[in-house]
Amino acid sequence: MSGLQWFMVLFGWFSLVVFVVGAAYKAIKFSTMPLNLRWEVYPVPHEEAEKRHYGGSYMEEMDWAKKPLPSSLAGEIVEMGSEIFFLKRVRQYNPYNLWPFSLAMHWGIYLLFGWVFLLVIGAILKVDALSQITGIVGIVSFVLGAFGCLTLMIKRATNSELKLYTEPVEYFNLLLLLAIFVTGIISWLMDPSFAGSRDYVGGAIFFSPTPVPSVVLLNFLLFGIFLIYMPFSKYLHYLAKYFNFHQSLWDDAFKQKGSPKDLKNIEQVGYTLHWAGPHASPDETWLENAQKLLLEEKEEKK
């Protein structure tokens, strides 16, 4: 067994660990940020069905603070699902017709993970019946993904308005994905059963690498780089999206006295202000500043 094969086994595990630890680290970092002020935007999908439909809220009622808060998990799941699987907002509102291309790329990525998952299951359970479905998922992923990445790159490079906002790193991100999908297509062309890919995954799982075609190794090398890079790049927007929607745009829950949110609030108004404007006392806390209604105006900074 060659050093390269062993490297690829270890690299596979390493990339998986970095991905899991990195994404978890980011999720913890996001969730431990200070409790922000309420900043919701309606419609909020966990409202009761009728209100959700026209964008209403519990604040349309009288004495709402004495009533239980609405909470429809189904509403949130449907809204999130339509966003994740159909890119609803891009379809409805994007003025550059990015939707079909972006949808293709996103489904390419979803199916890429599905393909790897099926390879893992197939390697562990050694079920031949899975190989056909694995093959279909793989090639559909690669074709959709390659089409999506390529067309998005072309769109971004040729439309002057999109081009202005597209930095080299954004092309790099698309290029990395494109390379994964293209090497996937090549490996399929060389072997439509993805036997080489299955051998690599099986070898990695059981630490018994076997020789596989170079293009398969390249395909998994690029996928590993993608996993390592993802938590530290804009690829992680799926996680940010969760926090943006659930802890900002849809977070309409008012707090009760003595609740964890209230205690957090008490802690936070005790933070030092830091701001140095003429109407601010930077060394005092937020609460102390709030209680001082009329500070001596410091000389305005010119």
Binding site: D252, K255, K257, K301
Partner: protein, 534 residues
């Protein structure tokens, strides 16, 4: 003509504006309008118009290099504080995630009435100002920006012009947050505009004079952002009592500082001065419905506004604390906010997580006046005749009340019950409505030539919507009403209807909602005045 602008232009060391606005580039309106005027010659020497030939800042341009450097240093110091968990706990999470995870798909662009109405000028795109801030932050504060520079987009240089133009850009957004509804990632570009405003206000004390010095500072010093003192407030109320008696024959005493009342009604003090029929109508309706309420004559207690909501968390907290303390001391069961959109959001939503403990909403409820209106109307406690309101009406949705609080139905239910003709909806409406163009302080910002920008660009989409809603009844022989239950929206509508001649040529007037309810009361004379009041 629409000009190509790129990001590095923001740092151009010239007084030449990045773009020149021309009426022919803006979206078309089926009305004649005054031409776009350049800034007055005498202003050019003293003030900076280098963004788009407009400015709300009557602040003298820095003359020396030292003055410029002080501004840049203050800006950079403030920018760093936006990412500090103590200095910016109020919005750090939303801000940081919006800064780091925009995927630049531009799906939000068409949501913005300013961008669209301007003829899609690049600098007004919701992502343009965010991108400038992002590039500056990356370049000066992140290892990737310092190392990889333009590869990651860290390619805008900070200088006096960059800072000034960014300040101006922060005041080209109404913070209506329609763009946040469009974003597939939940990025909030309007919040970023507000965060930029915070840098300037909280770190440097720079904000439009109407918002800070004559706004929240004056509110806290004199009792109202209008400058109205408690004594002046009482005198105004006495005048209103006399006016009500004269017009309706009813002797109504406004309850003031009544301890233990069910409701503390807090209204925008601008109503007392600009639209006194609105607080008068509240008094007539509440009296007729037997509502146990009170007004406050305490400093700040008679003015619901909280301008800090638009630009400064410190000021927002101060004014909010004052409002809630007054309610606590009066021992009222709840606060009801009058027809003022941003005061609704401040009181019922934002203050929820600013002030802890006894100020929690279940202990001191804060509610909109709109559900209460509907409760009064549907209860039949006040006899109403819809035929009193027999004219076409169109409803304008205040962003703060509708998109940002989800109060959509009560005002519609009221209109259905009190108008003889079905009320009209704007297109789009409800949470997808367009801002009136006066949001986030624009309605009261009148320095230099900023009003021209407001009338021509930010209010333009609303004028288009109104004309479309009334397209079959534009004949000036038919009186028509735009119903806007929000003071700032009314300010913007007054501005726009006058500028485009909609009252003069089409008899389109505007009003709050409570005036229409009182106009439908059968046992008093009609309340609405079909006349234009400046």
């Amino acid at each position: 003509m629409k000009k190509q602008v790129n990001f590095r232009d923001i740092a151009r060391l010239t007084d030449e504006p990045l773009i020149k606005l021309e009426v022919e580039d803006l979206i078309e309106l089926p009305v004649e309008e005054p031409p776009m005027e350049p800034p007055k010659e005498k202003w050019l020497e003293s003030y900076d118009f280098s963004l788009d030939g407009h400015s709300p800042f009557d602040r003298l341009k820095p003359k020396t290099q030292e003055e410029k450097e002080r501004l840049v240093f203050g800006f950079m110091s403030g920018l760093e504080k936006l990412f500090n968990r103590e200095a910016n706990w109020t919005f750090l999470k939303i801000f940081k995630l919006s800064m780091d995870y925009c995927v630049k798909c531009q799906t939000c662009s068409e949501a913005c009435h300013t961008y669209v109405a301007s003829g899609r000028q690049e600098i007004y795109r919701p992502t343009y100002r965010s991108e400038i801030l992002r590039k500056l932050y990356k370049r000066y504060f992140t290892p990737s920006g310092k190392l990889l520079k333009s590869f990651v987009g860290a390619d805008v240089e900070v200088n006096y012009k960059t800072v000034w133009r960014l300040l101006e850009l922060a005041y080209r957004c109404n913070v209506c947050r329609r763009c946040a509804l469009y974003c597939p990632v939940g990025v909030d570009n309007a919040l970023i505009a507000r965060e930029i405003r915070k840098i300037f206000s909280q770190e440097l004390g720079i904000a439009p004079v109407e918002l800070l010095r004559k706004g929240s500072r004056q509110h806290l010093a004199k009792g109202s952002s209008t400058g109205m003192t408690p004594a002046a407030c009482k005198a105004t109320i006495e005048f209103l009592e006399e006016d009500i008696e004269e017009r309706t024959g009813r002797k109504i005493k406004f309850p003031i500082d009544k301890k233990g009342a069910d409701i503390l009604l807090i209204q925008n003090a601008g109503e007392f001065l600009a639209w006194p029929d609105n607080p008068a109508a509240f008094a007539i309706l509440f009296d007729a419905a037997g509502i146990n309420y009170t007004l406050s004559s305490e400093m700040c207690g008679y003015d619901a506004v909280n301008y800090g909501v638009w630009f400064d968390d410190i000021e927002a907290t101060r004014v909010g604390l004052k409002h809630l303390t007054i309610a606590k001391e009066l021992g009222v069961k709840k606060i009801v906010v009058g027809e003022c959109g941003h005061a609704h959001k401040a009181m019922c939503v934002l203050l929820d997580r600013v002030l802890p403990g006894d100020f929690a909403l279940p202990l001191l409820p804060r509610e909109s006046c709109l559900p209460l209106f509907w409760d009064i109307v549907k209860s039949g406690r006040v006899k109403l005749d819809p035929n009193r309101n027999n004219f076409p009406t169109v409803l304008h949705d205040s962003c703060n009340v509708v998109r940002l609080m989800g109060i959509v139905k009560p005002q519609r239910n009221v209109l259905k019950a009190i108008c003889a003709q079905p009320y009209r909806e704007m297109n789009p409406h409800g949470p997808m409505n367009y801002c009136c163009g006066g949001g986030s302080g624009f309605a009261i910002m009148n320095s230099l030539n900023f009003p021209q920008f407001r009338k021509k660009v930010t209010e333009r989409m609303k004028v288009k919507q109104i004309l479309e809603a009334f397209k079959d009844v534009l004949d000036p022989s038919i009186d028509k009403m735009v119903v806007a239950p929000c003071s700032n929206c009314k300010g913007a509508l007054r501005d726009a209807l006058a500028h485009y001649g909609l009252w003069e040529n089409h008899r389109i007037l505007y009003s709050g909602l409570v005036e229409l309810i009182v106009n439908a009361m059968v046992d008093i004379p009609p309340f609405l005045k079909w006349e234009w009041e400046e």
